[in-house]
């Protein structure tokens, strides 16, 4: 069969999912151990391991050494959202990307960003087919990214420049709905206090902040993604 018999790890994964789905193995049930499953499926234990491990990654199974493998009681749905470069996001929708720098200066970040050292403050507007798409309000730590000081950010956005230039180890991201303030509503062609989708994100390189950004999207923006790509069920 071109691909998988019942011996490939994907086939095993599918069979395990079927049993969970069919309630042969209900939530909370401890499933047979890897050795037994390997014998049943007629394959090596490593193959079973790969299948179960990937199901555990997806949140469907819970595994603990010695304790065995259980079907998750509350399979927490996980949705993975992509955070692309804004230009790519716009171009992938088949729209013409535009970029416009609004301001760029060195300043002391507001206290809620916890900064007392001066940082590079860049604000800009990204447009799609000429219409306002998202307003970028960004602070860049010039200690961790000194190269930013040499960048005018008048043609290439900080968003794009950082991705290819500044490595980071981790970050956090928040999504919320907020009323557009005066600046935002003016730039985004929105009414005052119009509901806008806001993403705020901070990235770190080890202990040091790299950049903090607030992205305010024009009204109508929607993030869309799929749950269950690949091995997720439930």
């Amino acid at each position: 069969m071109s691909g998988a018999g019942i011996r490939s790890w994907q086939a095993i994964q599918t069979e395990v999912m079927r049993r969970i789905h069919a309630r042969e193995w209900p939530p909370g049930h401890t499933i047979p151990n890897e050795v037994d499953l390997a014998r049943e499926f007629g394959c090596a234990r490593a193959t079973v391991n790969r299948a179960l491990q990937s199901l555990a990654d997806a949140g469907l199974l819970e595994r603990r050494r010695k304790a065995g493998t259980r079907v998750a009681l509350h399979p927490v749905g996980k949705a993975t959202v992509d955070i692309p470069v804004i230009r790519q996001e716009i171009e992938e929708r088949g729209l013409r990307y535009g970029y416009q720098l609004i301001a760029r200066n060195i300043d002391i970040p507001p206290p809620r960003l916890g900064g007392k050292n001066a940082a590079l403050h860049v604000t800009a507007l990204h447009t799609a087919d000429g219409a306002p798409y998202v307003f970028e309000d960004r602070w860049i730590n010039t200690d961790t990214v000194p190269g930013a000081l040499d960048q005018p950010f008048d043609r290439i956005s900080a968003n794009e420049w950082l991705v290819t230039t500044a490595p980071y180890t981790h970050g956090d991201i928040g999504f919320s709905a907020q009323p557009a303030n005066a600046t935002q509503s003016a730039l985004l062609d929105a009414r005052a206090n119009a509901p806008v989708f806001v993403i705020d994100r901070t990235t770190w390189d080890g202990e040091d902040t790299v950049t903090t950004v607030t992205l305010t999207y024009a009204p109508g923006y929607r993030i869309h993604t799929i749950i269950g790509t690949g091995p997720v069920a439930f």
Copy 2:
């Protein structure tokens, strides 16, 4: 070293990340093949494979048979957001969960949901410490989930009941910012047209829809997650 020498797949992964991070292997660069890396690290090829595969999953590497493994040019950031049961979400914040059914009836879904068959329509309010938290407006396909007809949904929310009862294969989910309509603003103690965070989600079991829901959160709601847990960099 209690754990890994330089022969464990995690150690290899860390070393590969270090080289990418340090620009020894810049974006777009084709890295040595698995056999060579295995020789360099003094381990089996399978071990290198595991390390690289997991980095590819994280979006840091791009692999193609025969072509080899390249450092991703545009490492698309991926943020994984959890979609917990609402009760859990509230209780995890240390708040007292409350639930209140608003309406439950059989009806024809609005055309934008594509339904022409009657379905079960359930609306309810979830509260945290007595304050409105989220308004749930849900349609349940009674063909795929016939058991729903026997459920009053007056004590246990459809959200919670479905998770432990109705299996699904996949779904899609959207996040947006919208102005609260009359019903929503009244229930959520919000001003008319106040910006509210909206999640809409549809889940399927194979070809059949299971349920479609719109969750309207009270003002101030924010989804928060972390990028870079585990092997992600950039």
